[in-house]
């Protein structure tokens, strides 16, 4: 019931806004904010009654949907999906709040798209029926396509069609895999898939089919090329949601589908996954160094940071002698924390870039310099998020990366060393950007005249900063929230992979 409310309330209010928006422009703004805050409140209530010590699925809801194919409307959360739902309900109100800071045509359509998107994203994280999951997963493309296409930058059409086709191509293979699993089990329930006895060849093919869908979404090297385009062209809110939540769906999919359904294949192909992750971390980090566009830089840094998620998910399989459930728990916890923390930090950085873009109308690093002189409050926050992006100890970015690096260290020294280079490379590209944008002399005259951030821009950034700091200093509560489910997952995977 709680999940139902969280999925359908934003979708329905989105449609209401679409209906009445033409005549009641400013009312729709408050309506959308009210509705998204209500969803956030519901999710906080859910958090208060969620029992993290239970292995079972909570808030479970099951109803027949298409009985001929044994498809159920099956929702529920566990320690892996619940933090991501909280992230979704937390980020969306922030995005909606800041939606009025820049000029937009048909603002109500923009708000409605985000509300519908929010419902669908919560649906993806809470669906426990593979068919239902696919429905939410694909339906999500529609509002995102619209958001980038209508309110994006100059090259928006190219970017949004590229985004759509890439993700669509990835997901159709997943659809075939899901249909195949259904034919083997006679059910679309994800948990029935877990118990399936698949041969090694089948596992590898299914793993690859799922991987294609998730790798595009994460995005992993070499299918990441849609991301810089989509990020650069998307409006600020679109970039924030894209970076903060959409990318997490790939990582979530790996944990929900790939590992437990095809553990043997995960074990077998882990070397490929680790190599791809390291390429993302090291090579894409280098690519980020050479960017001149701020949004592109953050986009590439997202690819590099998401590399830690895939590394954490698969690294433990590499060394069978040292593989232990504890190490797996640590690696997956690291991956999860990295996802949440990247959601907060990259979201915040895109908001910061949005704030500057609204004033100067440029994303080029070279157009900036000396922001700190005219926008001192903003500059402080921007520097803080940049440091968090570079994984400064005490921020949430540090916790995730260190957990993954520690887990890798038990597997292989060289993997840990290579992934550790991110601390250097990450610091290099983020801080160098901050140096050129925030500090130095003012070269662009426009910067002299701009105002510092207004309250409506400042508050979301402050809240995000507090969250980043809190997670970095006391990651305990979040880890406790996830521990039981992650432990359960590790045991399942170890059993399945025969480790």
């Amino acid at each position: 019931m709680i999940l139902d409310l969280m999925i359908w309330m934003p979708i329905i209010s989105g449609f209401i806004i679409l209906l009445i928006g033409k005549n009641y422009g400013s009312l729709t703004y408050w309506l959308s904010i009210f509705s998204s805050f209500l969803v956030f409140a519901v999710s906080l209530y859910a958090l208060s009654i969620y029992d993290p010590t239970q292995v079972n699925i909570q808030f479970e809801l099951i109803a027949t949907w298409i009985d001929r194919f044994n498809i159920n409307y099956h929702l529920g959360v566990d320690g892996i999906s619940f933090p991501l739902i909280l992230l979704t309900t937390f980020i969306t109100p922030i995005v909606l709040l800041t939606s009025r800071t820049s000029e937009k045509s048909n603002l109500y359509q923009y708000l409605a798209s985000f509300l519908i998107l929010e419902g669908l994203m919560i649906g993806v994280f809470s669906a426990l029926d593979a068919f239902l999951f696919y429905v939410f997963w694909e339906a999500m493309l529609i509002p995102m396509f619209i958001i980038i296409g209508i309110w994006g930058g100059k090259n928006r059409v190219y970017a949004t069609i590229k985004f759509f086709l890439y993700t669509f191509l990835g997901s159709v293979f997943m659809l075939i895999a899901i249909i195949y699993l259904y034919i083997q089990t006679g059910s679309y329930s994800i948990f029935d898939f877990y118990n399936l006895d698949l041969s090694k060849t089948e596992q590898i093919l299914i793993f690859l089919a799922f991987l294609f869908a998730f790798a595009v979404k994460i995005p992993m090297w070499p299918v990441h090329t849609w991301l810089p385009d989509a990020h650069v062209e998307a409006p600020t809110g679109g970039s924030v949601i894209l970076a903060a939540i959409l990318l997490k769906m790939g990582g979530y999919g790996l944990l929900r589908f790939s590992l437990p359904i095809t553990p043997e294949a995960s074990n077998e192909l882990s070397i490929i996954m680790v190599v791809l992750s390291l390429i993302a971390i090291v090579y894409i980090g280098m690519v980020a160094l050479s960017q001149t566009d701020m949004k592109k830089l953050i986009a590439y840094s997202s690819v590099a940071h998401m590399g830690f998620v895939t590394l954490g998910t698969f690294v433990v399989f590499l060394n069978h002698e040292n593989a232990s459930i504890d190490n797996m728990n640590m690696a997956i916890s690291g991956a999860m924390i990295q996802m949440i923390s990247h959601g907060l930090i990259s979201g915040a950085l895109f908001l910061c870039i949005g704030v500057m873009y609204d004033r100067i109308h440029s994303r080029e690093i070279s157009d900036y310099g000396g922001i700190a002189l005219s926008m001192p409050r903003f500059a402080g926050l921007m520097v803080f998020f940049a440091l968090a992006n570079a994984a400064l100890p005490g921020t949430s970015g540090f916790v995730g990366e260190v957990l993954v690096i520690l887990a890798s260290l038990k597997v292989n020294f060289w993997i840990a060393l290579l992934s550790g280079t991110t601390l250097v490379i990450g610091a290099a590209y983020t801080l160098w950007m901050v140096k050129r944008v925030v500090f130095g002399k003012i070269t662009n005259e426009k910067i002299n005249d701009i105002q510092d951030v207004s309250a409506i821009e400042l508050i979301p950034l402050m809240i995000l900063a507090i969250m980043v700091l809190a997670m970095g200093l006391i990651p305990e509560p979040l880890m406790n929230l996830m521990y039981t489910s992650i432990n359960n997952l590790s045991e399942l995977v170890f059993l399945g992979a025969g480790l």
Binding site: L18, K22, W65, I66, D67, R68, F69, Y134, V135, E138, A139, L141, I142, F145, I146, G149, I150, R156, V157, T160, I161, F164, L165, F168, L169, V172, F173, L175, I176, I179, Y180, Y182, I183
Partner: protein, 477 residues
Amino acid sequence: MTFNIIGSILPEVTIAIAICVVILINSLIRNVSVTFIHSVILFFLLFALFLSFVSLELPDSIIFNGHYVIDTFGTNLKIIALIAAILIHLASIKSKLNIKNEIFLIQLFATLGVLILCSAYNLLTIYLGLETLTLSMYGIVATNRNSIDATESAMKFFILGAIASAIFLYGVSIVYGVTSTLSLELIEESNLLDSLEMRIAVAFIACGIIFKFGAFPFHSWVPDSYQGSNTTAAIYISSVPKIGAFALIARLFMDALNVMSDFWSILILSAGLISIIIGNLIALMQINLRRMLAYSAIGHIGFVLLSFSIVNEGGISASLTYLLMYILMTISAFALIESISSEDRQHIELNDLRGLSNSHPLIAFMLLFCMFSMVGIPPFIGFYAKWIVLSELVNNGMIWYALVGVIMSVIAAYYYLRVIWFIYFEKSDQPIKNNGILNTHSITSVIVSVMLLLIGLYPNPIMDYTRVIISSFLLID
């Protein structure tokens, strides 16, 4: 007894009466109001629909010396055809457009042909229904007789159609030569052998059927006639005749010539597969909306045939499900295009759609539904259509064909997205004027488009329905 026989063909009789009545009204009353004609036609169509529902209760029977069969399968297909005809009729009511009444009259003829095809149980009756349908379709395409395009496309259609009919008839005559009967029932019982003559006959008959579906290699009439004629004509020829074609393929191939399913399934499979590829690839290059939809229709029909070639209950009911959903989508698409076209703007091109989201927000939003449905994105029905066909393909070990299908769907997504791109992402200096009047056709088009979403949210009924139809059909054997 006599009453029973007449009773079972009442829907056809009603349509025949409607045709006479409309002819009489048109010739006897001068300056008859268009609304009046529309109401008469609608009344008869609804009455025929009602009678078809009533005749669902009748026991299965073969009447007219084995020429005609009354069964659940045929009656349900009639119901579908009549509902489609009613929707199309509602969507075409547009008094401002300079469309002669004849087109609605000829549509009634075509509908009669489809109804006959649904129940025909003898090759002669089948040919009768087929020709009633085909000849009316030439007429529908040529209605706009002042337009060179329409005349040209009708001419092309006529020549190709005549050749296809001749080939079909030649196949029928070979069947008669081998089995010395034209009755489907007797052909089925005649202990056919998979001989060379029969293979030739089946191939010829398949040509006729594939032509009716408008699939590769007999697809070339589709784009020309969609583009050359007007939207009212295109909406009809893209939907209702396909139901007749489905009845034809089910009765002839699945029922009468089931023994040779190994042979004809290869023909249907290759026609379907190549249609998916050709249709979607060529559609990528189109800028005229109707022509683009024509090629996309070829691609959709490819899925119907691909699924039919599985030759089992699951495959054929998936095929019918896809067909139903395709018909709903195509009616929605053409009806929406109809409601933004005007007399001086008959050839809608992609460029004409610029700024539609501002001038016609509702129609634009509905076109968005329709296009995403055609791409196959849930929760719109187009997704369920693709998914159910893919399920059956994977279930029957045809996973490679399923892969071709999905990859072509991704490629196809581009040209559907391009429509949305022009509607929403491009601004226009001269947007299409919105007359702001809510009329029957725009209300119908909106309702049909909303159905794409509503059925998508709860697709159970339509899936159960097609399954019931097909299983009752296969039970008779």
